[in-house]
């Protein structure tokens, strides 16, 4: 990925304070031509962060730039190239699906009516269906069509696969990969579907309690870690060892994920572990191990 290009999204030193929750300080970057996944538990700050990009709420500190456009001073230019779809989108005042999309299309010179048709067809979303009668999954689909049909350069999707049926989910994943066949377009999505993320995302950002816990290329992060099982007394001091994440013990059998740049099977053995076995990790195991420790 060419890092000399302007990033699709650049967040620097972002802080947003609520009475009971603080987001930040957060810095992250989404390269052009990539799919980046924003991960984290409910309440980690994912939606707050995504909303801030589109000017929902004013941050206490920091900058957000989309392809170089400042989200505060150049918000009109930003909204011309970036689209958002999330569960809160309410189009119920617009009658049926077609009427709502026609209304939105009028604001977007690049709206592709043929692509809109294809999206509706593939999502099996009837154009004449009343918006009030849409199921949760169908509302999600409508939001996705509205965001995708004008081919924005940055597509920001808050939990886009939640409530989608299997076929629609598969179609969406393929379409998102089709988006980044253009190296000038990017996708940022939040998701709890870690197998989807493992498959299609180039990069991931893991948020916890408003801060970035882990960020990087998905494939590199998976390679940097491995799952380990070993035998040792239950009272052994493995939990505090650097690079040992989410250590659990049942009987005298231990399980953990280790960061291979910091820790190794040899180091575990030196600390008293026997019968050490290692295996590759899945993104889900990586996620659980990292979030268990903090």
């Amino acid at each position: 990925m060419n890092t000399t290009e302007t990033p699709a999204l650049e967040v620097r030193g972002l802080v947003k304070k609520f009475r009971k929750f603080v987001l930040g300080e957060v810095s992250l970057s989404v390269p052009a031509g990539s799919i980046t996944a924003l991960l984290g538990a409910n309440g980690a700050g994912k939606t707050t962060l995504l909303n801030l990009i589109f000017g929902v709420g004013a941050p206490e500190a920091g900058t957000i730039r989309v392809f170089g456009y400042d989200h505060f001073n150049e918000d009109v230019a930003l909204k011309r190239i970036a689209a958002f779809a999330g569960p809160d989108l309410d189009l119920s005042g617009w009658g049926n699906v077609r009427a709502a999309l026609d209304f939105l299309a009028a604001f977007r010179p690049s709206w592709d009516a043929a692509y809109e048709e294809r999206l509706l067809e593939q999502f099996a979303l009837p154009a004449k269906k009343s918006i009030r009668a849409l199921s949760f999954g169908e509302q999600t689909k409508l939001g996705l069509v509205a965001a995708m049909a004008w081919r924005p350069r940055l597509l920001v999707l808050d939990e886009p696969t939640t409530g989608l049926d299997v076929r629609a989910r598969q179609f969406l994943l393929q379409e998102l990969l089709a988006v980044v066949t253009d190296p000038n377009r990017s996708v940022l999505l939040s998701s709890h579907q870690l197998t989807d993320v493992e498959r299609i995302a180039d990069r991931m950002v893991l948020l916890q309690q408003g801060r970035v816990l882990l960020e990087g290329e998905v494939a590199s992060l998976l390679e940097e870690h491995c799952g380990v099982q070993w035998s040792a007394p239950a009272n052994a001091l493995f939990r505090g060892m650097p690079g040992v994440l989410g250590a659990q013990c049942e009987g005298n059998r231990w399980r953990a994920v280790i960061r291979r740049t910091v820790c190794s099977a040899q180091q575990l053995e030196a600390a008293g572990a026997t019968q050490v076995h290692t295996q590759p990790v899945t993104l889900e195991e990586l996620y659980l191990a990292h979030t268990a420790n903090a």
Binding site: L177, V180, T181, R199, R203, V218, A219
Partner: protein
């Protein structure tokens, strides 16, 4: 006018997180197999990284890794602005890779047989049985 890229996606096995090996390793293995079958002749152009990613429903990084590794193995070469192509020596390089892997698997098989307590003559008989089924 360049010839059309070989429809590599249709030559690859379905890429799955449930299948053995990382996704990029599955792509590499699939290219090796297509080479051995003669479906990828020398000079054949490959689809761009982004196109193959979209066609196989895996991340761009995954395909990029596979291409980089295949380039390191000498199976493909890339020309900036033109794309990636199968090298003239790809079949030989692929055979070398397979030969090295076969040798290490045989060594592994021997170690396994020794652990099972088999005598050298019994191990030899076992190997011969698989050579002449």
């Amino acid at each position: 006018m360049l010839p059309n890229a070989v429809p590599v996606a249709s030559l690859l096995p379905p890429l799955s997180l449930a299948a053995p090996g990382a996704l990029y390793e599955q792509i590499i293995a699939g290219i090796h197999a297509a080479l051995a079958n003669g479906q990828l002749p020398p000079g054949a152009p490959l689809p761009s990284v982004r196109k193959l990613a979209a066609e196989t429903c895996v991340s761009v990084i995954t395909v990029k890794r596979a291409y980089e590794e295949l380039e390191r193995q000498g199976l493909i070469y890339s020309r900036p602005g033109l794309g990636s192509f199968i090298t003239d020596a790809a079949l030989d390089r692929s055979r070398e890779t397979h030969r090295a892997r076969a040798e290490s698997l045989l060594a592994e098989a021997r170690a396994e047989a020794e652990q099972a307590g088999l005598k050298p003559s019994e191990i030899r008989a076992l190997f011969l049985k698989h050579l002449n089924p």
